[in-house]
């Protein structure tokens, strides 16, 4: 009997928290986020209020020295959609992960003061992108450096637009 009351209390409290969290006021997020380390309280505002209407592309290049700059290469992020994606679509996790990474990084960068923008280099999102890019580099010279940019595109439109929304600093490849 005591168990029932405890369980009802837990589930009711969580339900109330879920409702409160959806209200999205700054106060709610700060208080709740402190202890919801794993993000268990759900966020149900899919594609709203700001829907995703652009694609994010991460491009990078390796620089050997000041004068030698290779072309930018793109981190592969998109693939052809097969007919069975409504049943089985493992690629969506990678795609969503990429979007989350780019959006989080841009939010962090925007929130930094003008004279503190270089602190973005210690952001886990920034380091994560660098790690993913460098993991894919097969061979490089000891003096090579890498830089990346995030480009926002509207690919499927006839007059496709692209704009650079973030540029990284240059880093040694380790």
């Amino acid at each position: 009997m005591m168990n029932d009351y405890i369980i009802i209390t837990i589930l009711s409290s969580f339900t109330v928290l879920s409702v409160v969290y959806q209200l999205k006021s700054k106060f709610n997020l700060k208080k709740i986020w402190k202890w919801d380390k794993y993000g268990i309280i759900p966020n149900y505002s899919f594609f709203a209020p700001l829907p995703l209407t652009n694609d994010f592309r991460i491009i990078y290049r390796i620089t050997s020295n000041e004068d030698t700059k290779n072309n930018f290469e793109e981190l592969s992020a998109y693939q052809y959609k097969n007919w069975y994606i409504f049943l089985f679509n493992p690629f969506k996790y990678y795609n969503k992960g990429l979007i989350d990474l780019c959006v989080s990084l841009m939010k962090e960068y925007k929130s930094l003061e003008e004279d503190s923008k270089n602190f973005i280099q210690v952001s886990s999102n920034y380091i994560g992108i660098l790690k993913v890019i460098t993991d894919g580099i097969k061979s490089h010279d000891i003096n090579d450096e890498i830089e990346f940019s995030i480009v926002v595109t509207q690919d499927l439109f006839e007059d496709r637009k692209a704009s650079v929304v973030f540029r990284s600093f240059r880093h040694k490849i380790i």
């Binding site: 009997m1 168990n3 029932d4 369980i7 009802i8 837990i10 589930l11 969580f14 339900t15 879920s18 409702v19 959806q22 380390k37 794993y38 993000g39 268990i40 759900p42 966020n43 149900y44 505002s45 899919f46 594609f47 709203a48 209020p49 700001l50 829907p51 995703l52 209407t53 652009n54 694609d55 992020a77 998109y78 994606i85 409504f86 049943l87 089985f88 679509n89 493992p90 690629f91 969506k92 996790y93 990678y94 795609n95 969503k96 992960g97 990429l98 979007i99 989350d100 990474l101 989080s104 886990s124 994560g128 790690k131 993913v132 993991d135 894919g136 509207q154 690919d155 499927l156 439109f157």
Partner: protein, 265 residues
């Protein structure tokens, strides 16, 4: 209230949940190694929480195969020995594995992942309840979560100036991420139809929590059917199949919540 209805709703919800778990884990097995680095890139950060790093003792594939095997055994037990001690123990194991995987995966999560995890947690927690509450409480909880899900999603779109313009659906479907070029072009060349689809998506989402409080069951069933069709369309056009396999898990729960609510009044 009819105990058969309760048991049937519970069994159907549990089955769909376990099926969703199998498909989810199967997809992760087929996520390429290089892509996996992106999804789990914050692995080093997780060590701060002192969770035993199962990924060091099991490969990613072994981890997800374990979830699949346990889920398949659970489906068998659900039919033959529902709520036996073995069933509850294995279910708790699956819950822990899902919670661990969810906590590790810092990016690339969505609402379907959250609802699935909440379902596993609530079903597991309620194993410690007595008698019929083992079945009633998780159904009520998941039913409420579904009402919050559709209500929030609908209201967020209703209050969004982008969605209210009525021309956002074509733009979303024009992306490589969630796009279907042919359908997007069709919408862009027929703005009236694009508006109709956009507003009907908002209306359908809000119709579920509204019809929940109306004592006309047919209206409620129609609202759920509309949303099911919506999830089919997002799975086909946008590749968001996770919603198609996870959210219907909550339909028996919200049905039971509905008949409980109107039976009470």
């Amino acid at each position: 209230m009819n105990n058969n209805v309760l048991t049937t709703c519970y069994l159907i919800s549990s089955s769909i949940l376990l099926l969703s778990s199998i498909i989810h884990s199967l997809e992760f097995i087929f996520v390429k190694k290089a892509l996996n680095r992106l999804i789990y890139f914050k692995e080093a950060e997780s060590s701060e929480s002192q969770i035993v790093n199962l990924y060091s003792s099991l490969s990613k594939n072994q981890f997800h195969i374990a979830i699949i095997v346990l889920s398949l055994i659970e489906l068998f037990l659900l039919v033959n020995q529902p709520l036996s001690l073995l069933y509850k123990t294995l279910f708790l194991c699956i819950t822990i594995l899902h919670l661990y995987s969810y906590a590790k995966r810092k990016i690339g999560r969505d609402g379907a992942d959250q609802l699935r995890l909440l379902a596993f947690l609530s079903f597991s927690l309620c194993f410690f309840s007595s008698n019929d509450l083992i079945k009633i409480l998780p159904l009520y909880f998941i039913g409420f979560q579904l009402l919050i899900l559709y209500g929030t999603s609908g209201l967020a779109k209703l209050f969004s100036s982008h969605w209210r313009k009525g021309n956002v659906l074509g733009d979303i479907l024009m992306t490589n991420s969630y796009g279907s070029k042919s359908f997007a072009k069709y919408l862009k060349s027929n703005p009236t139809i694009e508006k109709a689809f956009t507003y009907s998506a908002i209306f359908s989402m809000l119709f579920v929590p509204i019809s929940f409080f109306i004592p006309i069951p047919e209206l409620f069933y129609i609202s759920l059917l509309c949303m099911f069709l919506f999830h089919i369309s997002t799975a086909v056009l946008m590749g968001l199949n996770d919603f198609l396999f996870t959210i219907p898990m909550a339909y028996p729960a919200i049905y039971y919540l509905y008949i409980s609510f109107h039976y009470m009044f």
